[in-house]
């Protein structure tokens, strides 16, 4: 039976706000209706429509893994009207959420394999759900080594600092590589762009899946590096962004050829993308 009221948002209450950078915040929310929270059933890689009443709706990926508890996290950059109002909200205030929408990372296909994540800027957000899913007590044994290579423009632009510096490195069989574009006095880590850092770290393609998310320019220069390292197109997974209004495959605008990113995506392998028009 189809869901006949998919455009109806449900109220959520903000329980926590983390300032990731000067213009990126992570909102932790729970549905006011415990039944909806209990049965939400989101999978890593899926997205939601956030309703900020008076401004409308925006598609935002779910940053949290379902394995972390009965809450949702959304990492939101302040870029426009809706996100500007969202950024002014405080703990205890409410907005609306509907979803979950879209496909998810093929976590079954990834079983038994090492995972190499690449994130740029605040685009670590959509893949963080899978990182935490694979690192959860429940599913950790399904996956091999989990590595995360993450880069941002500057120290100030690094998101999920505590995950990168504390939480993930302490977990079994992980590798965390963080870089910033230009040197800063207080920065002791790697300096350089993401593509060249990937080349330096040189992950082996053997029994490995690469999951990449970032600005188009980063993806453009990172894909050839993976090709050079011997990764096949099927081993490279990414997640796309498009302007969306309904997230249900009806409002029309997020199509790439005959596919709608909102229902057929947002997760695509490079092999799939190669068979689609370059219109994203």
């Amino acid at each position: 039976m189809p869901n006949t009221s998919p455009l109806t948002p449900y109220p959520v209450t903000i329980t926590k706000i983390v300032d990731e950078t000067s213009d990126v915040k992570t909102f932790t929310v729970v549905f006011d209706d415990p039944d909806i929270m209990e049965n939400f059933g989101n999978l890593p890689g899926q997205v939601c429509m956030l309703s900020v009443f008076g401004e409308g709706e925006s598609t935002i990926s779910i940053t949290s893994a379902p394995t972390r508890g009965k809450f949702l996290e959304f990492t939101v950059k302040r870029v426009g009207r809706l996100t500007n109002v969202l950024h002014q909200m405080e703990v205890g205030q409410k907005f609306g959420v509907r979803g979950p929408y879209g496909n998810w990372f093929p976590y079954d296909m990834m079983k038994g394999k090492d995972l190499f994540f690449v994130g740029g800027g605040f685009a670590l957000a959509p893949i963080r759900s899978l990182i935490d899913f694979a690192l959860s007590d429940q599913y950790r044994s399904d996956y091999g080594k989990v590595e995360v290579l993450y880069g941002a423009r500057s120290m100030d632009d690094l998101c999920f600092k505590s995950d990168l510096a504390e939480r993930w490195p302490k977990l079994h069989n992980t590798g965390i590589y963080t870089t910033i574009d230009r040197a800063e006095e207080a920065w002791k880590g790697h300096v350089g762009f993401v593509p060249s850092y990937v080349e330096e770290v040189a992950p082996s393609p053997e029994n490995k899946i690469a999951i990449i998310a970032g600005p188009p320019i980063m993806i453009k220069f990172t894909l050839p590096v993976f090709a050079k390292l011997g990764f096949k197109d099927e081993q490279i997974i990414t997640t796309l962004e498009m302007r969306m209004k309904c997230c249900l495959g009806k409002c029309g605008r997020c199509n790439i050829g005959s596919k709608f990113v909102c229902v057929d995506g947002p997760v695509f392998s490079l092999a799939q993308l190669n068979g689609m028009p370059k219109e994203y």
């Binding site: 006949t4 455009l7 205030q93 907005f95 302007r243 209004k245 009806k250 409002c251 029309g252 050829g257």
Partner: protein, 347 residues
Amino acid sequence: MEARIVNKGQLSELLDKLAKDYDLIAPIQEETVTLFRKISGAKDAFLEYTNSDISPKGCFLPQNEKTLSYMYTGDTLEIDKPEGAKKTVLFGARPCDIKAILTLDPVFEGEKFGDEYYSSKRESTVIIGLSCSKVLSTCFCYAFEGGPCDGTGSDLLFTEIGDKYYVEVNTEKGKALADAYSQIFSSQGADQLAKDKEELAKKLAGEFVRKVDLTGVKELLDKNFELAYWSGDDQKKCIGCGTCTYVCPTCHCFDIFDYTTGDFNGDRLRCWDSCMYPEYTLCAGGHNPRPTRKERVRNRFMHKLKYHLDRYNMVGCVGCGRCVKKCPVNIDITKIINDLKEVAQNA
């Protein structure tokens, strides 16, 4: 298939009765524009039209529609939804426009996500089609297996034969309506008019002036996204006004936004949108996957001739000819179809 007869002299009586018992939506003339609106009786209806300027798709996907209202005080949030649709009769829709509704059905009545607003109107509406009595120079419904007297998708189809309407009863819904007004829908002598209707259909089929042949077009588009053709002068002349999409009976794109009506409350609206506008695909960060008219024109025609077929196994065009007639710079989908055929043949 059952058939009935309605005397033309009784049409006013029928429309008045329908307006009383249902929400009756029928063609009207507003200044020089023919469009579909709710009417209070036969006196409002305008039936001397070839095809309306605006299609009746708004019966099911209104140009502006409230999807919910909200009341948010900061601490409390209430969301109310409008009531479902009232029982409605859509009278006078042309066969091409009814076919267009069939192409919208799979979009809104999906396997995973339905659409209560669309479905509620669709379920509570009886569609009474009206066969065309004339073929316009812009018509090409035959190219999509339609026809001026084709009843596909209608509950009842009226065809004007002399001083009578020959009425085909195509569904149970249509039969129930005809039975409810049995003093108007006569069963006597309907069979004799069936032949007249066949002849009219045959006669009209020979009156199309536009030659449109889709052979090879889909196959060409399947293999070629980048075609030099889309950068041609004919396509570049698009001024991005969006008229084609608003008059198109199969275009279903919409925008959703909030209209604040008070300090804490407002309505969420769903409104027709157009893929011909740059803002349509403009992302918050400034990236635009279809930045110029070339990509937008290509997307519109690819949607009509390929994407809708790929997704729903239905063509995204019904040959109503509105975009051909209304485009201010004479971009013509029939020319594009024929040009693409030529491109395919030369490939």
